[in-house]
């Protein structure tokens, strides 16, 4: 399965991945509108961590043995046919069990609207996740590794 990998050596901490992720998960999918008009503002599904010169984006790893899928009390967190770990936000009750068990800290709380766990969905329907597509330094790559 193709996954997003991070080359922290080349992450420049620009956070464009966050900007484009947020846009992709907004209602309009239009960048200016997503930031300036939509309330609540959509959430980026990944965070960039930074300290000094070191930085990296941390999207969901879509683990093979995903702890969040095993732990989710409602079954909202599930694996789809491609192998991606997705949260069905309709079924999620916002108990944050997934946050408790994700060792990457890759699940976030979305609380502005309906409470639900918010995480990377590999940009369902897109050929390449937008964070990867827009990473200016190819620090994020989307590929199959064994």
């Amino acid at each position: 399965m193709k996954r997003i990998y991070v080359n922290e050596e080349y992450c420049i901490g620009c956070r464009l991945c966050e900007v484009y992720c947020l846009t992709q998960h907004s209602r309009s999918k239009k960048i200016i509108k997503a930031f300036k008009e939509e309330t609540p503002r959509a959430l980026a599904r990944l965070v960039v961590e930074e300290e000094g010169p070191l930085s990296f984006a941390m999207p969901c790893r879509h683990c093979e043995d995903a702890p969040c899928v095993a732990a989710c009390i409602t079954g909202a967190m599930h694996r789809d046919e491609r192998g991606a770990v997705l949260c069905d936000e309709e079924r999620c009750v916002g108990c944050w069990t997934c946050i408790m068990v994700c060792p990457f800290g890759a699940v976030q709380r979305s609380i502005a609207g309906r409470k639900a766990a918010s995480k990377c969905d590999l940009c369902y329907g897109e050929h390449t996740p937008v964070c990867v597509m827009h990473c200016p330094n190819e620090a994020l790559v989307y590929e199959e590794r064994t």
């Binding site: 990998y5 991070v6 990296f56 095993a70 409602t74 944050w96 408790m100 068990v101 990457f104 976030q108």
Partner: protein
Amino acid sequence: MRYVIIGNSAAAVGAIEAIRQHDTEHPITVVADEPYHVYSRPLISYLLGGMVDEARMAYRPRDFYTRYRVETMLGVEVTQVNSQTQSLMLAGGGVLTYDRLLIATGGRPFVPPVPGVDLEGVFPFTRLDDARQIARYIERHHVRSAVVVGGGLIGLKTAEALMARAVRVTIVELADRILSMTFDRTASRLAESLLRRAGADVRTGLTVKEIVERQGRVEHVVLQDGERVECDLVVFAIGVRPNVGLVSNAGIPVQRGIIVDRQMWTGVPGIYAAGDCVEGYDLLLGENRPIAIWPNAYRQGYVAGCNMAGAERVYEGGFPMNSVEVCGVPTISVGITDPPEGDGYEVLERYDREALSYRRLVLRDHCLVGMICVGNVDRAGIYTGLIRARVNVAPFKDYLLAGHFGLISLPREYRKHLVVGEGIEV
């Protein structure tokens, strides 16, 4: 070859999904006394409180059994396991044979022998039916007030659900504080004040001595100290015990729960057990004991399923962990949160009253063994990961409670393995 699973909940689903990863051929039969499509037990309080509807109770989609080619016998109680004949006795007289059996009978609510527990209006709270019946009872009898016995997480969820239905609640807890099993004193006090602010009455250091009736229905309870608390409803949420009645004379070793090895095997040929009914491996204590939580049940079921289907798999072990919102404030507690003073433990704390954020970390031998997050639970799983991987946190201890704590604070090797993926070189 036939797989049979007693139980239809987290552990059962874990096992089904594991078996079908390795064996798409042989039949699986699920027998459960609850007559329902697999549902999420933790959601019964949400259902009672009206936060979710019946449709959202399903833990797996409606076509789950068909898709995984599972035969179901729902609403059928198993009364006895006979390991000699490899068969199950069913209530009503049927017999079911198995080649591989998973016992996933979960927990049984503990209701203390208090006078009056059999009255109308007294309920346990562990099953979908309990939630439905309580809801019906509240409507039918215009319940205005209730006593919830037990100030643990389930007790609190029950209390919140009742309050959401405009029922006044008194929580009665035997220990000197609520959530004494999962929280430390500070977090308990925080939770208590939140509950009080939401309108609940909290009585600690007390228990119910007697439930008193009027016309066959609950009218009030008498507490240990003699106080009388008026109520139309009493819910027992003291906890669950492993549900092991049906294995009593099948030669399966049982102490508090069913005893299993790290492959979730009972030691009796063909018989595995998983979930709230077993004593699973506790990674932090290094010994087996029952830890009745959903994630462990699923994981144990999954491991059992793999082994039943012939794919060897070892249960890594679990530890207590709970994530619940108390009156809208998220809380997470994992592992050993309130260790005895001294004893080789070290505690780090950070309490920001203004932001209503409390974090407490417990260390032993330079490793994280427990934590509590109240208010701000974001990225708490990173701590859980450190606990599970037994990472020496001494070199970056000062970062653990820093506002910007994240993977970036972790040692390069551990972090890289996480960021880039196991065995992958950058």
